[in-house]
Amino acid sequence: MRNLILPLACLLAAVAAFFVFPYDLAFLTRIVIMIVFVLSIDLVLGYAGIPTLGQAAMYGSGAYAAGLFSIHVWGDPLAGLAVGALAGAAIAALSGLVVMRARGLTLIMLTIAVAAILHELANRARGLTGGADGLRGIRVDPVLGLFEFDFIGRTGYWYALAVAVAVFVLLAVIVRSPFGLSLRGIHESPARMTAIGASVYWRQITAYVIGGAVAGIAGALAAQITQLVSLEVFAFALSAEAVIMLILGGTGRLTGAVIGTTLFMTVEHIAAANDPFNWLFVIGALVLAVVFFLPAGLIALPRALTGLIVDKGGRDADRT
């Protein structure tokens, strides 16, 4: 029961935000989409322990796939989401076969390289993707045939929020399933999981594919709601910032992804508006501070603080 309190509080806050900030719906929607994306990284990195800096590869594939689908085939948003998920899963499966063979630095480098290759491909295939000008002319039909996307972004917000909640519930089920537990086992000790007969390679690929599908959904949402896909969807900065959001909130906990993303994007919204370079000072210092002083993320802050008071071993306390 206690596990439900925090997610429900987040959901309540999201609903309240709609009424409290009616003029910032575009920004709120961006946060919700980003939460979906960061959740995908939480599964891959937080649960399966795959250090990725290239999750944007799947996000971007989902965005382009959903955008192209709505332009050329069918404008239904849910079908578009499914196409985005498939595209993300397909890219994750293809690249995962190579990426998961590597370890450590090579693995990280390969995840970055996959996103860089897709960036280059999208840039070259100007006729299909619009290249550096971006993919324009995305038209999306009403959700379920009932709710038309409006200028203010009301439908967009509720739509994104509904998808985010569905993804959250799905991931919550997955990480509690035997498969999710085996991912945790692999994270803790790949050697022991191999010893008890689990195929580390294939389970990591499976997790990577599920994460890829979720990232593809996030990309598809972004494409449908902003009605534009630019090359930035494959940017390294997107992958890196999303990982930072996750670390800020706390890895290996789904609510950590929600809290970290919300906080990061709110601070960015306020601080980065006029000076992107000084914003880099803020992120840089923030990341170092979290890594050194709060390795389990903000979500562990209350426990870390009580640990400081109860005994001096605050660092051990937040690992439980």
């Binding site: 063979r101 590597a102 630095l105 090579t106």
Partner: protein, 286 residues
């Protein structure tokens, strides 16, 4: 034939630059098991210092370059003491994040100091003068870079194979605990090695500025390139880094000459095929 020679000269020069910058990364990775994404930042600091000393202070190139390398080491040493020393024991994700955070700080600092424009480094006339090789004339700079790269690998080989420091370094790479138990000051070895890696990165950054132009975003733009060299070469292997840097330099240059439109894709394709076949790199252990 001319095309082939052009590719060879440009590719080898490019490879030497990659080697100088990446070798420090490879050695620190092999020795301290730290994934240092901020390594390109030392090339940036070296390049920015050389730009500032040359253009604004007005020092001659050679003095500016020497001071810039010394300055980079002066920045790297306290960083190793204060920051890196603490992250050696972290998990790979924490290392990646801490060094990305550091990279962001380096970028923001250089930008605050020098702005986000291109930081040109003026070469002395001796390096700009054209040299006739028979099949083409090229700036002496390319040849100097090749010579410098060869000098660096020769120097590193002598240092590792022929000095007491080299013996200790290799012992620490093989097994830190045992080396430490034999009375080797591994902390000092780490610090010296880190400083050496940063100095080489600065050297590569300054002399490579013609090929990899310096600006504030340098560490992020070329991060994948340096990581590729280390991954393909095999972590901790100097010979591996050298072979990988030269090979990749020639491959990328060849791709630019032969299939300019698809150069990036061809380059990544070859790298991924190589790593799919040998995930531990050309000369990596394990």
């Amino acid at each position: 034939m001319d095309l082939f020679l052009n590719i060879a000269v440009d590719g080898v020069a490019y490879g030497m630059i990659l080697f100088m910058i990446a070798v420090g990364l490879s050695v620190t990775m092999g020795l301290m098991r730290v994934i240092n994404l901020a390594h390109g930042g030392f090339a940036l600091i070296g390049g920015a210092l050389a730009h500032w000393l040359g253009r604004e202070v007005g020092l001659p190139f050679w003095i500016a370059a020497t001071l810039a390398i010394a300055g980079t080491v002066a920045i790297a040493l306290p960083l190793e003491r204060v920051l890196y020393r603490r992250i050696y024991g972290f998990g790979e994700l924490q290392q990646v994040l801490a060094t990305i955070g550091l990279t962001f700080l380096m970028i923001a600092s250089v930008n605050l100091w020098q702005g986000s424009t291109l930081l040109a480094i003026d070469l002395p006339p001796a390096l700009r003068a054209p040299v006739d090789l028979g099949f083409r004339t090229l700036p002496a700079h390319r040849l100097a870079v090749i010579a410098l790269g060869l000098a660096v690998i020769a120097g590193l080989w002598l240092l590792l194979e022929r000095t007491r420091f080299g013996i200790r370094l290799r012992a620490a790479v093989d097994n830190r605990a045992t080396a430490s138990a034999h009375g080797i000051d591994t902390g000092l070895i780490y610090m010296v090695t880190f400083a050496l890696g940063a100095a080489l990165a600065a050297l590569g950054g300054i002399f490579g500025a013609e090929l990899l132009p310096i600006d504030a975003y340098y560490p992020l733009r070329y991060m994948v390139l340096f990581l590729i060299v280390v991954a393909v070469g095999g972590m901790g292997s100097i010979a591996g880094s050298f072979a990988a840097a030269l090979g990749l330099g020639v491959i990328e240059t060849a791709a630019r000459y032969l299939v300019p439109d698809l150069a990036t894709l061809a380059f990544y394709g070859i790298v991924i095929a190589l790593l799919a076949a040998r995930p531990q790199g050309l000369m990596g252990r394990v």
